[in-house]
Symmetry: C2
Subunit: 341 residues, 2 copies
DNA sequence: GTGAGTTTTGTAAACGCTTACATTTTTACC
DNA sequence: GGTAAAAATGTAAGCGTTTACAAAACTCAC
């Protein structure tokens, strides 16, 4: 393994080992139709000379560099970050690498990011998080466009389209039954906090409303708060709650569409000296690391991130090997009960 | 912008626009020595036909695909995730893309990951986090090896070596003065919690010990706790503290080498019904998002992640454009005082 | 209109691999 | 030993760009 500076090519290996470049290439690609002695010879020459194949040339020849693009609104969001982590790990185990792009939350940027992936000729794209599919159909066209060239995999979002796979939890049912759970705990006035109007965001909201309807409530204005902001905006969420309460809003339970919103509710309550869960019960969504980091630990809807991530990658690997692209798979989420209920 | 299926090449553009492929290529690369009319013609043909250059062929020709490798032990660690986010954003703004590999904490894996980046022919590697440089010199050889081929940039770690740039905070001074700060607040018995024996981990520890020495303490066994685990192991940290205290350990302040260790101390204290900061003062390190998410909000040492990330990328871009590689830059950290002190 | 200098363009050879197809070598069987 | 089939290897033509070098076209002062 000497480290010569000059660039070594397949021709150098060919010359040194006395076989043709075709054979060297075959060895390189692990083809079986190579005589064992030849293979050993070539491998040892490669090793001895410290040869590394040129990835770009291989890319050009094979028309792939074994790269998967990962799109994610914000890789520092605890939940998304975990997903990225699992996905990258699973991909790497299968000899693929991950090209990461953080898109932010605007659809214009998501579209650009996905196009960028296409230009870089990734083998497939994985879109992580429900915010990639909008409740407005027109905003989802970019997914369809990309799917015309490469497989597109959605984690925790659903968009039915050729060459797009959606793997997600039934958010509607999850929220509905979590709210039902709060009712069984004797809660009277449940507030829904949410900050996304994505397709899945709307489903959750509907789950909430339907649960309330079943308890005779039909006007929701006083039961839902839409908040602007992301994981870093806890302060602003707390302030908003403060203001609303000063203006007469009251509630004895919070259902949040994201763990970090739930945490904001908890912070608000703790600051007000409320007892948890006696005075305020809170349920988050995603069962992210925030849920167990906070004190008291947060009851949260677990949407099975790890198994879903792994299954997503497995499905993708299958597709890349030639399996047919499935359409979608829906899981059921599970409520993880902790100290806030 | 019709979307023909057949693959378009530079030859198609050449033919359709009546110029040679060389000229098409020049237009593609924005060279100035092209007649303006010709350029417009070529661009409009490209646009009309929906041509996209083949990234692999360009990679081969230009010997770069404008890709930077990012290595990070665990992209779901709140602190590292934020760094990855900033870095990816800054790179993308400069037309580079990020190949992300999560290495875990073993040096064997880090070495493999870095080699993988080399094989993929990234233009440079950015290693995010102090855990990439060991206090054992032998474990750092992999960095030197990589630096023989590409620029290596370290964020929040220091390793002096040719073609390696280190950008970091003075951890020693930061911890020392944070501990000093606790003394000025009247704390008598300060416990240091840490979980890394990296180079920077050792510096922090020394900062702690030196601060204690100045207060007449010379035996540290009873003042330091080494913990195994990462951001997801809060429970185990809390348990460990519990056990130690049952066996007689006592303290009225905690200095932690990571925010998540500080959070564990806080959880322990809250569970025990201690008042914060009256009964226990806590200082974390990194000023990650955990610090402000928790209630009460955590006093933490801010090591300037965002400006450092951006400067790191800027420095790298300079180097890639031909500037000389600087050796290292040391910043001072800053204590952000919040509710836990 | 001429010629030197400048711009613009074209030709053809890289870049370092993969792979279809042709050729040679080996194997197995009579 | 001869033969047909199977296995191993080699030759050469891609893959889609970039770019050195050569050639052509343009400019402008005289």
């Amino acid at each position: 393994m000497s480290d010569r500076k000059e660039k070594l090519t397949i021709y150098d290996i060919s010359e040194k080992s006395g076989v043709s470049i075709a054979t060297v290439s075959r060895v390189l690609n692990g083809y079986q139709n190579v005589n064992e002695k030849t293979r050993d010879k070539v491998l040892s020459v490669m090793n001895e000379m410290g040869y590394k194949p040129n990835a770009f040339a291989r890319g050009l020849g094979l028309d792939t560099m074994k790269t998967i693009g990962i799109l994610c609104a914000d890789s520092s969001d605890a939940y998304l970050a975990k997903a990225v982590y699992y996905i990258e790990e699973a991909l790497r185990a299968a000899q693929y690498n991950a090209l990461l792009i953080c898109t932010g939350y605007s659809f214009e940027d998501k579209k650009n990011a996905l196009e960028l992936l296409l230009e870089r000729k990734v083998d497939a794209a994985i879109l992580v998080g429900s915010n990639f599919v909008s409740s407005k159909a027109s905003e989802n066209a970019y997914i369809k466009d990309a799917a015309a060239s490469i497989p597109v995999m959605l984690l925790n979002a659903c968009f039915e389209c050729d060459n797009v796979y959606s793997l997600y939890c039934n958010d509607y049912a999850a929220v509905k039954s979590a709210v039902e759970f709060l009712y069984t705990k004797g809660r009277k006035k449940i507030l829904y906090m949410y900050n996304s109007k994505s397709y899945s965001g709307m489903k959750k909201l509907t789950g909430f409303k339907d649960a309330l309807s079943e308890h005779g409530i039909d006007s929701f204005a006083d039961y839902t708060v839409f908040l602007q902001g992301g994981p870093d905006d806890t302060d602003s969420f707390v302030n908003t709650l403060n203001n609303l309460c000063e203006n007469g809003l009251s509630f004895d339970a919070v259902m949040a569409s994201e763990d970090y919103l739930a945490i904001a509710a908890l912070k608000y309550a703790i600051k007000k000296g409320m007892r948890i869960p006696e005075d305020l019960a809170v349920i988050g969504y995603n069962n992210s690391s925030l849920a167990t980091i906070f004190e008291p630990e947060l009851t949260s809807v677990d949407n099975k991130l790890k198994p879903l991530s792994e299954q997503l990658v497995n499905t993708l690997l299958g597709v890349l090997k030639g399996s047919e692209m499935p359409g979608k798979t829906e899981y059921s989420a599970e409520l993880i009960e902790r100290r806030t209920t």
